[in-house]
Symmetry: D2
Subunit: 437 residues, 4 copies
């Protein structure tokens, strides 16, 4: 079977003896025998997998598709019987037949102490293999399905990371910070002082591996620039007086958990934790980049823009010229770059608001990935901040702009629903900035 | 749909407004909106469920069957498409369509901190409801499917229970001991001294609830009676000199986890723990009852027995007479009861061996539940012990006999396989006892 | 030297070879050599001591007096030099010469891990030996001096004891409760429920040995009887609504720490802990026995009493008759006993108030040990409670009466000072009860 | 009194009102009243002290000498009475009278949670004040006396410091390392890998403050140079194969505990810990500097040296010339410096051995502080290593030489005793190097 998906002949050659031995272990683990000797069989399975090179790992994943998918004919039989009888027995039978057997394989591998971590690493590799083997999406569906069930937030623990945290874990925070790079231990120390917070999600079977972490600044007002939040030299303020908690960075640590919802739950749990500790906190917001803005701008058709207003076209052309053939160059003098853009500031902010709120006929909702994440979580787009991030990356991707998304507990459900139905919840200010409002 | 399974009309009346509100919450939790406001929706769902009386809880379970099962027509469509195309897209689509939506409902409820415990309690009630509603087996299949995945041994922790353990936990051990009742704190204290061990499985989300625990005695030789192992007055020996670890009691604490494999994994992990701590340990065995023996004996056809040997019939009749109309009575004087049976001791042991090893044409393998548990785990039936348990229950169910099952690491896989294929692994001694060997 | 204290000749015979070996170890431990090999020498010293029987232990203590006291002549020389020169060198020299060398011996023994516990046990024995050897008071002075320094409250930790506490520790609480006996684990469990508290002091080197513990009831009003506080059947109330914290029992666990101030510090730290947890608590009081009352009453001269009032004499005689030759007997029917006393209730309460407030010409302050403890701690004598303790002991020692002492933070210093200067701080009510006010 | 020690008139002026208020608190704390309100009085005392500037702190220490010393006349009286009666009462009285009252003051301050740490800091300041006020040695005697009793090794805990240790503590290790400076977090990380160990002593009342720590390298052979032990780039070896544990750095963290014996006890406890973990370890040694060597060499009388051998004089002169007026200069090129000394290597090693083993008529034992520390601990001087430390400090103080001291459990007591009696235990090799052997 699976003649159209697998590339059988090639595989048989490619696989080699190692993959075949590994598949043999998997089949044994699935058998009755595996029930009793599960631990040692699972251990051997992982060991054999670890010995494979990348090509053979791909071959193994393809074999998981070919050999551990449900039997189409049996599925059809069970489906027909279910429709005919609508009996509970036929439903149970259908459930047994239709689930891909590789799910049971993964569940049995997961029984081994340490198995969960191995499966996460295996999926990291699988996601990689997916690029050249789109049909492996069916295998990945099963990995994602089970990992979502195992890494559900009810099983996870929010842990505060501070200067009392073991160095080994702090080292991982430094290494995984993906938004605003941590420049060594002094930088980290500043980010863990009393007016800063860092929280991470942990799974009980991976006590030394943070899954995702968020960095928070406790400040007086809605922030309009990133620098004061990550300035190593800044004095630490009194968190009890803070009115605003700013989620200024959120980073995933486990590529093998891609697509498993973690950030959404972490943010909401941290809101609860901080609310309990600091009753004076009135607002929870982010200070986020607009990473897709510059690319979107470059792709705009000049004609369409010109029809709206000649000033807009001027702004688009100015940016195009500047980013030009070597986008990295401009950042040498960020202040100068911003100054050059000053004349078209209004136009650029209007364009950015449009990008976020209603980007054009084709796109139902904003194409910005960060915006989609927070809006889907139920946040509101509150404010655009000009010249808020003068880093190389910030200037290049977001043209120096940053956005505050606000999390308001009572509004979360409603905002999320509006987003689902294709609308962006934005403040009046942002809305009035956007073109054609 | 589900006309044949559900009893639609009755339900609609029975359910009442509360069940309908609860089902409304469930649907909302399953919707997109539930994604953002999951925690509060899940909390409300559990609260509404907790307010239901038993009848309405049953109505809710029936609604889970009726309203949260896969759509038969869509399933058939997906199955046909899968067979035709055998494409990865069609397989993914099938997986999405064929899984009962109540599984996703349970997964979303499980995201709430404390949700796992609530689901376990819900299933305890569901198992109860199953008696009068056999069609709920399809709902229970989903509960069992997910609980097995969440309570897999890779997520569980073996914890040693001793006199340093919090009293609140020890109280639960006293309460849940199901094999040899613990008579208060002094009895418990004796069972936790240095030559005894107690280990329990815990799930990370239920840190105060033992799932299952096993009690172990570290002694010199294979034990032939239970009393010395649970005698409060006995002196505690030096565990470092013990040659045998006896698993003399294993008790489940969570009825809602029935059918989820725990005992098998616990025993094997405890074998590992004890082997590491006491290198001199040579044997791991049980001292187990034969709870189905007396009932099996009573059901034997006298004619068949007589054909084998008149002595056997004498034994069977003697027991029948004794247990007679009031089986509890005989236990008033256990010693006397055993004395009366002495003349037919050989015959009764032969019958017991037969019961365990080859009970008759009809039964493929032994019908004894304890024997099935240990043999399926890969243990070997080592020895029958006459007069080993003179307690009321022991005399009535097992006619005072107990069995040693031996766990030998190297043989576990082989023994389990033989059991699967319908054979009982037994020592030469037991084998020679059994009739017709 | 020490001819007058020690009984040299007898000792030399008594001591035997074992004591001499032990003393040899002590001397070596004190020498320079002991500096380097301290741990093993200290271990040997304790082992040799443990092997001694009671007589030889006494001999060892006497040798500590005889051989490890300061040299009188050298002391005199250092004192003269200090008076003459008043130089810092002469003062240091005096400090070195005048301190009994056994203090250094104890300090070196204390360096051994576990040494502190051994020294506490050694002193328990020493206090015993003191009865027949009054001169050992000089040795005990040094033990007490060092133990007070080592068991100072800055080193101790207040630990809450509850149902999550290890059973091994709870067992010690049951065993050491000295005021209102704990009748098994159910009784203990009631005393650890949410409207009760138990706190113990621990020393870092004795993590498994409570030093002293106090039991607290959180109730609505100032209690007037002990039974409701220790009733196993009583329902537990909501501690958040309690207005009064009652210290109804305080028990020492280490006889070897007699005279080391612990109870005073524990009560005050617990007041702080409870104040922080329950802001609604308005009062901290005790419900205490008057253990010396009956004995004091019996010793009153009838003539003196009669001169004050004939009614008083009647009361005194009634009690005398009742307690009579067999004081235990009356308690058979506590209710009846109290009923019999009813006619003289007023007189007995007046006498009890007098006993506590101004017992007579001879006694400067109350001779009641419990009263002295709390008054010295800075409490106020608030109220006498008739028929508050109908237990055998309560009826016999306190004639069924109990007292509330109130701890008020602002008044503690002043009350203590008044007590030091010979005055008892009592409420107007108690004061008006007392004779001759 | 104390007219000769104190400088009364000046003091009275200097002290000012603050010191007098502080002394008032101290007297109150010593009074009966202090018994009941100890905690708040002690807190106030520390607060008042903390507010003083350095001059007034000195004035306070002088007042501790003047006002809290024993009364000379009373001491004399008690001493006379003790000599006359030799009664236990007179001995107790003497103990009470002769102890400086400031000891009781410190004990009462120590009762406050956190008091111990405050007293340690107070002594740090006192040691400073001692330089200009030698008479304060009498006050310091009391501080040292009590701190030695409170920081005895029986109360301390050996804690392993590794990469799982909280960053806050690791930061203190970096900061306090006094022998071979730690160059940031990477350097520290290397020193905590599996073939390195770091252990610190902690006091229960100062859980966040290491008192002293030792760094250990687990290597194959007796090391002859420091660089391989602290090389960040070096690969970490398998500690289970190590034959030698090298104590290559030991650093005190609390200046206020000067003179309190800690290093000796720490080394011996770490030897026990490592012996238990690594049964294959055969040797425990140090790699230590000879910090007094260069200075001793410079001070040698040339005439005397010349009389021993002209070569020796040549060596001495060469070193003198090199270290010359600017000792720091030579270190610019360590390799060159060592090369220049090569011709006189034998002579310099002979001189160094002499310095350590028998430095001259005047000095009873070696004047080298590091040598005195280890020899007094019972170590043996094993080997001199030429060119072992080419750091600036190593070249200047020790002329690049380092020494291995060996700790052998069985020999410790004997070696210590020999050192006490004026002899240095050295290997035959070192002994033969020393001049005139």
């Amino acid at each position: 079977m699976f003649g159209k998906l697998g590339k059988r002949t090639t595989l048989l050659v490619q696989e080699g003896i190692k993959v075949r031995r590994l598949l043999g272990r998997c089949r044994k683990l699935m058998s009755e025998r595996g029930e009793a000797a599960g631990a040692s069989l699972a251990r051997e399975t992982f060991e054999l997998y670890d010995e494979l090179d990348r090509n053979h790992q791909e071959a193994f994943f393809r074999a998981l598709l070919r050999d551990f998918s449900p039997d189409p004919k049996k599925v059809l039989g069970a489906a027909q019987r279910y429709l005919e009888t609508q009996s509970f027995e036929s439903l149970i039978r259908l459930s047994e037949i239709a689930e891909p057997p590789r799910q049971e394989l993964l569940r049995r591998l997961n029984r081994l102490p340490g198995g969960t971590g191995q499966i996460v690493r295996m999926r990291e590799r699988l996601l990689d293999a997916l690029k050249g083997n789109p049909e492996l999406a069916a295998v990945d569906w099963d990995f994602h399905h089970l990992l979502s069930s195992w890494f559900n937030p009810g099983f996870l623990k929010v842990v505060r990371v501070d200067w009392q945290t073991p160095a080994a874990l702090l080292e991982k925070i430094i290494q995984h910070e993906a938004v605003h790079e941590i420049q060594g231990w002094n930088d980290l120390h500043r980010r863990l002082e009393r007016d800063r917070r860092c929280f991470a999600f942990f799974h009980p079977t991976l006590p030394e591996e943070p899954l995702i972490f968020v960095e928070v600044a406790l400040v007086e007002d809605l922030p309009d620039a990133i620098l004061p939040l990550i300035d190593i030299q800044s004095n630490s303020g009194d968190p009890a007086r803070a009115g605003v908690a700013v989620f200024y960075s959120i980073s995933n640590c486990q590529p093998g958990l891609r697509g498993v919802s973690l950030g959404n739950f972490l943010i909401k749990q941290v809101v609860d934790v901080l609310s309990a500790e600091f009753p004076r906190l009135k607002r929870f917001c982010t200070l986020s980049p607009v990473p897709g803005f510059a690319a979107w701008l470059s792709a705009l058709e000049h004609e369409t823009v010109a029809r709206q207003s000649p000033n807009l076209l001027r702004a688009v052309l100015a940016v195009a010229k500047e980013l030009g053939p070597d986008p990295g160059k401009a950042a040498a003098d960020p202040a100068a770059a911003m100054k050059r853009r000053d004349p078209v500031k209004n136009e650029l902010m209007a364009l950015c608001a449009s990008y976020l709120v209603r980007p054009g006929a084709g796109d139902a909702v904003t194409p910005d990935p960060v915006a989609r994440f927070h809006l889907n979580n139920g946040a509101r787009l509150e404010r655009l901040n000009w010249g808020a991030d003068l880093s190389k990356k910030g200037l290049r991707q977001s043209l120096g702009m940053m956005v505050n998304y606000v999390y308001e507990r009572r509004a979360i459900e409603r905002n999320h629903e509006r987003f689902i139905s294709g609308q962006v919840t934005a403040s009046r200010q942002v809305r009035s900035l956007a073109l054609g409002e």
